[in-house]
């Protein structure tokens, strides 16, 4: 009887573990099945590089280049915020802060990670956007810059905690060796610790990117929503995620618009997937180089 019970537990746990794989496969299948039909109507090159996104016009145009550019601008801007903030705070937390400061700051970073994105979006609309608008005398504060700032802050905890893990993995003996030949703190940090943690820090940045690219609710609320190729950070933009979220409700099921949104989702999925694989490869190399396994 005990045997049977043990087996049952085993199988249940295995089924639970495999279910995430099943979900993944299911999602991929749906993305391909619903996304690929658009390419019967629009050539892949025209879809990706087409300059006009007029899905509801007659005749419609399905060029997602403005959306791709919007995603890239916003992500790039977010990187400019989350890399210095995230890596900088990881360095401070791990290398400089005393015990008391760390025990205050670390939970603060963790709480930042747990705030729902709609709250970030709300904060962006009500506080950051008017501020940017007044500061730069714009027609609207809902633009790529505002989205970048908010997204950057949102991605900071991810970057910070992964970078901190990487710094933690640098053996203390490296720091001691550096101090013992008469290096100061700054030299030890920049010439020994950061290079040794280098690929771990790159992993942090890559995962920060994929966090920023995939974020939806916030950009929907603060990016401005205009599907035109952006000329500057101050233009309102419509990144890929917010196009999907904003338009899915009004796109007739099975129509070209519907399929094109799935195709955007498919592209997004591939991009974040590639980033995550790169991050994994880089961090694996990092572990090998520091002589750890697993």
């Amino acid at each position: 009887m005990a045997r049977v019970k043990e087996k049952a537990i085993r199988w249940t746990l295995a089924a639970l573990a495999f279910s995430s794989l099943i979900f993944l496969v299911g999602i991929i299948i749906v993305l391909f099945k619903e996304g690929l039909p658009i390419f019967k109507a629009v050539r892949p090159g025209d879809f990706i590089f087409g300059k006009f996104w007029y899905p509801t016009y007659d005749p419609p145009e399905f060029g997602i280049f403005p959306l791709i550019m919007a995603s890239m601008w916003v992500t790039l801007g977010a990187l400019c915020v989350c890399v210095p903030l995230g890596v900088g705070s990881a360095l401070y937390l791990n290398e400089i802060a005393g015990f008391k400061q760390r025990s205050l700051l670390k939970p603060a970073v963790e709480v930042l990670a747990s705030i729902p994105s709609v709250v970030y979006g709300f904060f962006g609309m009500v506080v950051v956007a008017p501020f940017v608008q007044n500061l730069l005398k714009l027609d609207t504060g809902l633009c790529a810059l505002t989205a970048s700032i908010i997204l950057g802050v949102m991605a900071t905890p991810t970057v910070c905690s992964i970078a901190e893990d990487a710094l933690n993995c640098v053996p203390n003996s490296f720091r001691e060796a550096s101090f013992a030949v008469g290096a100061n703190r700054w030299q030890t940090l920049t010439q020994v610790v950061i290079p040794a943690a280098g690929s771990g820090i790159s992993t942090a940045v890559i995962l920060g990117i994929s966090r920023a690219i995939g974020e939806t609710m916030t950009v929907l609320m603060v990016a401005g929503g205009s599907a035109v190729i952006p000329k500057s950070f101050l233009d309102p933009v419509r990144p890929m995620t917010s196009a999907i979220a904003a338009e899915m409700g009004e796109a007739p099921v099975g129509g070209l618009h519907y399929h094109s949104l799935f195709a955007i989702a498919l592209i997004l999925f591939i991009v974040t997937f590639v980033f995550n694989i790169i991050a994994e490869l880089v961090s694996r190399k990092f572990r090998i180089r520091l002589g750890q396994s697993g």
């Binding site: 101090f179 013992a180 008469g182 002589g291």
Partner: protein, 253 residues
């Protein structure tokens, strides 16, 4: 003692938070001599030698009382830069700890951080210190290889070379052979005997024979106290304290 004290510890007490790790230590490290520190595990040997190059102050919540001087100058005086002390008092650790950089870069690092920028001088000193550390002929063809590819014994000699490159006056060894095989150990011991012509050396060791072979003076630590300090020969042949005798003859610890 006729020898000249290069470093002097006077009434040194040291605390890790509430833990009293060293109690009233008085000990001289004599110039161009090898001073061995022996004692059972946890008695404060590492703590003591890490005070000599101000390494312990990197650990939070520690307290030091008493005085340690180098050439008569208090190394903990507020006007003294710890970076300067660590350059003059080098250290080789128990586990070889080369940087994950090339052999060349490992040694050049100490020179660069100390403001040497001439490529020519750096190259000369790298070669010179590798020769001094008796490693040059083994690795001269692969000076740009990653240092982590070397064997443990070679890594430890590389660490010694890295330490020598910045031309310290005193070298502290904390159980330098603890993770090495007998052949590598012998090489390091020969090296230490070689180095004492030009440097002042302190070495922590668990190995009685090693202390007897390489050192001129020996200090025996027990539970944070310095039980006995004398010429090595006396410590091993006619110690004045019963506990020292028990320890060096292997009857305890």
């Amino acid at each position: 003692m006729p020898d000249n004290a290069k470093m002097k510890a006077e009434k040194v007490d040291f605390f890790y938070g509430p833990r009293h790790a060293l109690k009233g230590i008085d000990l001289d490290i004599c110039e161009n001599r090898v001073t061995a520190i022996i004692g059972p595990s946890g008695c404060g040997k590492s703590t003591f030698i890490r005070l000599l190059n101000r390494m312990n102050e990197l650990i939070p919540n520690t307290i030091l009382k008493g005085k340690i001087s180098l050439d008569g100058r208090d190394i903990f005086d507020p006007s003294v830069d710890p970076v300067e002390i660590r350059r003059r008092v080098g250290m080789v650790f128990q586990k070889p700890n080369p940087f994950p950089k090339s052999i060349f870069e490992n040694i050049a690092y100490g020179l660069k951080v100390n403001g040497v920028s001439s490529r020519k001088i750096i190259e000369e000193r790298v070669v010179k210190s590798l020769q001094e550390a008796a490693l040059w002929h083994e690795i001269k063809d692969r000076i740009n290889d990653n240092a982590l590819k070397l064997s443990g014994g070679q890594q430890q000699r590389l660490c010694i070379a890295r330490c020598l490159a910045v031309e310290p006056e005193v070298i502290l060894f904390d159980e330098p052979c603890a993770s090495l095989d007998p052949v590598s150990t012998q090489k390091i011991e020969e090296l230490i005997l070689q180095l004492k012509k030009d440097y002042t050396i302190a070495i922590v060791t668990h190995n009685m024979q090693q202390a007897a072979r390489v050192s001129d003076y020996t200090g025996f630590f027990l539970l944070g106290e310095l039980i006995e300090f004398d010429r090595t020969q006396r410590i091993f042949t006619a110690p004045s304290d019963k506990r020292t005798e028990d320890y060096v003859t292997g009857r305890f610890g």
